[in-house]
């Protein structure tokens, strides 16, 4: 996945779960809040560390669409 898309998704999902965590704290739900903060970090990490199918192919003849 291109860097740009990973970066945008990271910002968005971090924001969503961080805000969710804040919301939970404001409603005295501390455990779900900490899980939300954990998820915010966990999900971002998961998309950056996950390997792509990308190793360079050997030179081939013919066109690719």
């Amino acid at each position: 996945m291109p860097f740009k898309f990973k970066f945008i998704l990271s910002i968005l999902i971090f924001g969503v779960f961080a805000l969710t965590g804040q919301y939970e704290l404001s409603h005295d739900l501390s455990r779900p809040a900490y899980v939300a903060f954990f998820l915010a970090v966990f999900m971002v990490l998961s998309i950056w560390i996950f390997p792509d199918v990308s190793r360079d192919a050997p030179e081939r003849e013919g066109g690719t669409q």
Partner: protein, 266 residues
Amino acid sequence: MELQHSCMSDRQRRYRKEYRYRVAGWYHGWLHLMIIAMSGIAAIYIYTSNLVSVQWRDWLALPLGFLSYQLAEYLLHTQTMHRPRKSPMLRALYIRHTLMHHQFFTEQEMRFADHRDWRVTFFPPFTMIVLTLLSLAPSLTAGLIISPNFGWLLMTALTGSYMFYEVVHFCCHVDDNWLVRNLPIINTARRHHQAHHDQALMMEVNMGIGTPIFDWLLGTSDLDRGFFGHLFNGYSSKYLKKNLRRTSRTPKPGNVKIPESRTDAH
């Protein structure tokens, strides 16, 4: 590592070898599974922690969310994974699915060899992220219009449906055993999905994975059965349609019916 006893073609064998070469060396299937499971379970825990005094109408979010997910899965599969699109993101889905998943697994060999092949079986972690983001708008809207409980349950249903899909799809690619052969829904999905992996049918037939609901509804199933027959068909091939497409490596014009209309539609 490859399966020792398999009737896969040489072409499929070569493809699988090439694919494994291309996956970055450290990939670990159990880690992949753990990421999906932890994300999903944690998210569902957060959503359900917010439920207070749930009314009967709030529970309707569960079947609504489940059916919405089934429809989205069907449409995404039909319109994007099996059709090249211009957008790079959508095109990537087509490449990963038709040009990778469907070449790695065919109706002759549906199994992965070990956890390293789960890379081509499970969706990557960003799927849960995209699903969560796409679920926000309808769930927030439902939460404001109907009730907060409805909104939280809708998020729960959508996330849970994705995890249901991963479980069912995984079961479609494991070795046959007593459990998957006899569990309803799973056994149906296995036969349904294996038929979909027939490269003659994969572009048009059996596009639902978790359930065949929308294949039945929209006529893209390979079975000639009713709704409950579809859901609980199991491994039976008694009700296959007779007019399914049969592709050929070298179709002969004399063997195919020339359509009546030859006018250019454009």
